[in-house]
């Protein structure tokens, strides 16, 4: 079990549509809930309460702090996120390495950052402000993006690694976002994983996507691609031993299908733990 009380195993991101599967799952390592949805009532959603009673760790997953924005994090949003964390007894909270607002305009999407020294300095300051305000540790997630900013001064993984090192934040590693970016931008996902401080990974996200018009879209509405499974295997073989969460946000399949997806992830965790040395993976 890691320093934040998260045990190895499989979980599912809690949504009203996945609540039944989460409640049925005998072994549920953890779950997460969209923090902003809980903020609106500041009450535990009814379907989530049984998991709290079971002692399942619940992580509020923020989508609106805009930690990569030009503005410093909004104190009111941080206060609300703190109260959600306390309400749920959360061991940590998670957010994204992105911006969602620019000069007061809400983009409505997790939007990529420029990988520059200037951006890194601003992100470090923003993350530190958030950490000081939050009652629990913060984990930061890598996002998927269909485009890249021009004039990058470093790679994404260098940006993230330095951000983690400077702030001490944990990483929420989304292997499916990593997979999507590798497919769309031709980057080497395995080299990316090799460069990460895996001991700072709090937990891992896996989700489905689909290819459309030559681009791979991280939809959270399709089955998990085999490419994401392979990356998860590599992460586990490289020494990661924490929880893995399945995310699904749309076109929900029936419970049997969701259980099947979770079973596959469980198999990867179990098989991966038997691998003594990292697998030699085909890069690219």
């Amino acid at each position: 079990m890691g320093e934040h009380g998260l045990a190895p195993g499989v979980g599912i991101a809690w949504r009203p549509e996945t609540a039944w599967v989460a409640s049925q799952r005998a072994q549920l390592a953890m779950t997460e809930v969209i923090a902003e949805r809980v903020m609106r009532t500041m009450q535990v959603p009814l379907g989530l309460a049984p998991l709290i009673r079971r002692g399942v760790p619940i992580v509020p997953h923020g989508i609106s702090l805009s930690l990569g924005g030009a503005d410093r994090p909004d104190p009111e949003r941080l206060d609300a996120l703190s109260r959600v964390a306390e309400l749920l007894g959360a061991p940590l909270v998670s957010e994204h390495i992105c911006f969602v607002r620019a000069d007061g305009v809400d983009v409505g999407h997790l939007t990529a950052l420029p990988w520059t020294e200037e951006m890194l300095a601003v992100a470090i300051e923003n993350v530190r402000i958030a950490q000081e305000a939050l009652p629990v540790p913060l984990a930061l997630e890598n996002i998927a993006s269909l485009f890249l900013w021009p004039d990058a001064e470093m790679t994404e993984v260098e940006f993230i690694t330095r951000l983690l090192r400077e702030t001490g934040a944990q990483l929420l590693l989304d292997v499916s976002n990593l997979y999507a970016n590798a497919r769309n931008h031709g980057t080497d996902a395995y080299a990316y994983i090799d460069a990460l401080p895996l001991d700072q990974v709090a937990y891992v996200h896996v989700a489905g996507g689909v290819e459309s018009a030559g681009l791979y879209h991280d939809t959270h509405a399709h089955l998990v691609d085999e490419g994401s499974h392979r990356l998860l295997e590599y992460v586990v073989a490289s020494g990661y031993g924490g929880p893995v969460i399945l995310e699904r946000d749309d076109s929900f399949p029936d419970a049997i299908e969701l259980h099947r997806e979770l079973d596959v992830l469980e198999g990867i965790l179990e098989e991966g733990s038997l691998i003594q040395t990292p697998v030699v993976a085909a890069h690219g």
Partner: protein, 94 residues
Amino acid sequence: MDKESEAARERIRSQQRSLAAGLTGAGPIPSGFDVESVQSAASALRCKKSRESERLEAWSSGDARGVGMGSPAMWAVPGTSGSWWSRMARRWFR
């Protein structure tokens, strides 16, 4: 706050504002970006917002299952009414 840090934030604000405008259709795609990729992202964003709008309509009309939003009761506060739910849904997904 030192002036250099504030100047950096201003530059980033300007860059992000331009990109946000390009993504939301409020302005051109900033120079230097791969136009096709940003257009794909803008298109995906429009689809996402459209789906959210459909969900809101369906949810407000009580047809939550039709768009895969499950039971609103899972999110409900005990003792509140459907009209309360509709009001909250409109606020949340605006």
